[in-house]
């Protein structure tokens, strides 16, 4: 169940250009967090909270990790929070990625700040065990993060738009290299999600989506998007993860 919780910033560090990894202490959230869920994080001095995916969770020591890019004033404010400071978050929010049965072969396809939730997911799937492969796309070398971390449990291909690291191109250019798989999970910018779901339309897959949010809990209809069946889905409550065939991108 979503709660309003105080979290203590345990550490904060830069993992790539403008990309901050923050470890937050909170027993409740670490215990409940499922890969694909997000936190609705307070940014001091701002009216609205910022939705940030849970990039990892450690139940033993009671921490959750978030990784975010500094894009505007809210994430800038967040990035300025020092270890020891506390903030409030709502969480864990939304529905995470459904786990497939042990033994499945899964492909993770992440782009930019869509990569973080796939880390927690991949790590969790790997222990089931599932066979995990990952394709991670970034703008350029300076933006790459978590390559080593993914390699610990997944055959990983990195692509950059400008070829300054790994392969040059888009994630969809290298999907063939990943070989065969049973399910895919993807998170990233909308154009990437469109390209990926188009390319993999015959495969069962799950997409994690983004939308500007008000309440983050399902009450305000800010994040409602049309569903394939003619109805609608609230990204914050029904998502952010959806079966690929259920949403119109």
């Amino acid at each position: 169940m979503i709660k309003k919780e105080m979290v203590r910033v345990e550490s904060s560090s830069l993992v790539a250009r403008d990309t901050v990894k923050m470890v937050l202490e909170n027993e409740y959230i670490s215990r409940l967090a499922v890969p694909g869920q997000f936190l609705h994080v307070e940014a001091a001095g701002h009216t609205l909270r910022r939705p940030i995916s849970i990039a990892d969770a450690d139940r033993e020591i009671g921490t959750v990790t978030i990784i975010f890019r500094v894009t505007g004033s809210g994430t800038k404010q967040l990035a300025s929070c020092q270890p020891g400071m506390t903030l409030t978050v709502l969480g864990p929010n939304g529905n995470g990625f459904p786990f497939m049965q042990a033994g499945s072969r899964v492909l993770l396809i992440g782009g930019g700040i869509g990569v973080p939730p796939l880390y927690y997911l991949g790590r969790s799937l790997a222990v089931k065990p599932c066979t995990v492969k990952a394709i991670l796309g970034f703008q350029s070398a300076a933006d790459v993060f978590y390559e080593k971390e993914f390699r610990e449990f997944a055959g990983t291909v990195i692509v950059t738009n400008d070829g300054s690291f790994g392969e040059k191109g888009l994630v969809t250019d290298v999907i063939e290299q990943a070989g065969s798989f049973d399910y895919y999970y993807t998170c990233g910018p909308t154009p990437m999600l469109q390209a990926v779901t188009r390319k993999l339309k015959r495969k069962p897959g799950f997409v994690s989506m983004e939308e500007y949010m008000g309440c983050g809990v399902g009450a305000c209809f800010a994040c409602a998007i049309p569903a394939r069946d003619g109805g609608y889905k609230k990204i914050c409550k029904d998502g952010p993860v959806f079966p690929a065939e259920e949403v119109r991108l």
Partner: protein, 307 residues
């Protein structure tokens, strides 16, 4: 003991604090954060005659001390609301105010009738001021004659008390208030959002897909206070005040200006516990500023209290 109770047409409130329409859905989500029974009342999301899917996204944007929204009145339609949403709220044993919207007067009438036939609604709030839909809404909210007409027609088909929700996007808010009072309104809700726009520098387009949206939050509080003060001097029906409330001190400011009760909108998004927190702090704040009850404070600080 500080007396927080407020009596308004059709509404016996144990305290003057309720969530504002559109910022609280139909209560389910926030019921997971606290017992809704603590609230003075609940104002539910706007209901229209049939299901509305609303505007394309993005539907919200952040602004300095506020936000813009252009939800576009998305809702499941009055029938489904009555069937699927109201029974849940009924269990909470708090007054329910249904926000009624439409694109033509017939639709307002039809929605009002439907709510009138249930016993799960205690009052209606006529949303004649939604800036985010192409038809209806705003046009009723900026023309006193139209506003009076909707009010009259709804009053005719409904036994429920009718609160008319005024738009601040007008030259003369007094005129609007007087027109709906004359047309039979039992109370006034004010204010709805100010129409605003934000342009995204990267895409060179209005950030909201709907282009314009409604400005809410602390940024608009001074406008709300001014308008309530102004209207209070010209009508004798009660006012439910709203616009930027995020603390018990803000509530007192609204009471002083002339509001008889208040609604909290945007602040729920930042702090889902804001309503019960305000309710808990209100007696202390009233006491600190020398009031024994909510009723005591109403209208004690507006400009009319001195001129």
């Amino acid at each position: 003991m500080t007396n927080l109770a407020v009596k308004l047409p059709g509404l016996s409130l144990k305290n003057p604090v309720m969530p504002a329409s559109g910022c609280f859905g139909f209560g389910r989500e926030y019921s997971k954060f606290y017992d809704l029974g603590k609230l003075g009342a609940v104002i539910i999301k706007a209901a229209t005659g049939s299901e509305l899917f609303g505007n394309p996204t993005p539907r919200v944007a952040e602004t300095p001390s506020g936000m813009l929204n252009a939800i576009g009145l998305q809702n499941p339609g009055v029938e489904k609301i009555i069937e699927h949403e109201l029974p849940f709220l009924s269990q909470c044993e708090i007054p329910v105010i249904a926000n009624v919207a439409g694109s033509i007067i017939d639709e307002y009438e039809m929605v009002a009738k439907a709510f009138n036939q249930t016993d799960m609604v205690n009052a209606l709030e006529l949303n004649i001021s939604c800036p985010n839909v192409k038809q209806g809404g705003m046009q009723f909210g900026t023309d006193p004659k139209m506003a009076a007409m909707v009010t009259e027609r709804v009053k005719r088909v409904s036994n429920l008390p009718v609160y008319v929700k005024l738009s601040p996007n007008v030259t003369d808010i007094k005129k609007m208030a007087k027109a709906v009072e004359a047309a039979g309104a039992d109370g006034i809700s004010m204010i709805n959002t100010l129409t605003g726009m934000q342009i995204d520098l990267k895409s060179r387009k209005p950030l909201l897909a709907n282009q314009t949206g409604g400005l809410s939050g602390p940024a608009i509080k001074p406008v709300a206070i001014r308008m309530i003060d102004e209207v209070k001097q010209h009508v004798s029906i009660p006012i439910i005040g709203m616009g930027g409330i995020s603390s018990a001190e803000d509530v007192l400011e609204f009471l002083l200006a002339g509001a008889d009760a208040v609604a909290v909108g945007t602040a729920n998004f930042q702090n889902p516990l804001i309503c019960p927190e305000i309710i808990e702090e209100l007696p202390g704040v009233l006491h600190r500023f020398g009031f024994d009850s909510v009723a005591d404070a109403v209208g004690k600080g507006g400009s009319h209290a001195h001129v």
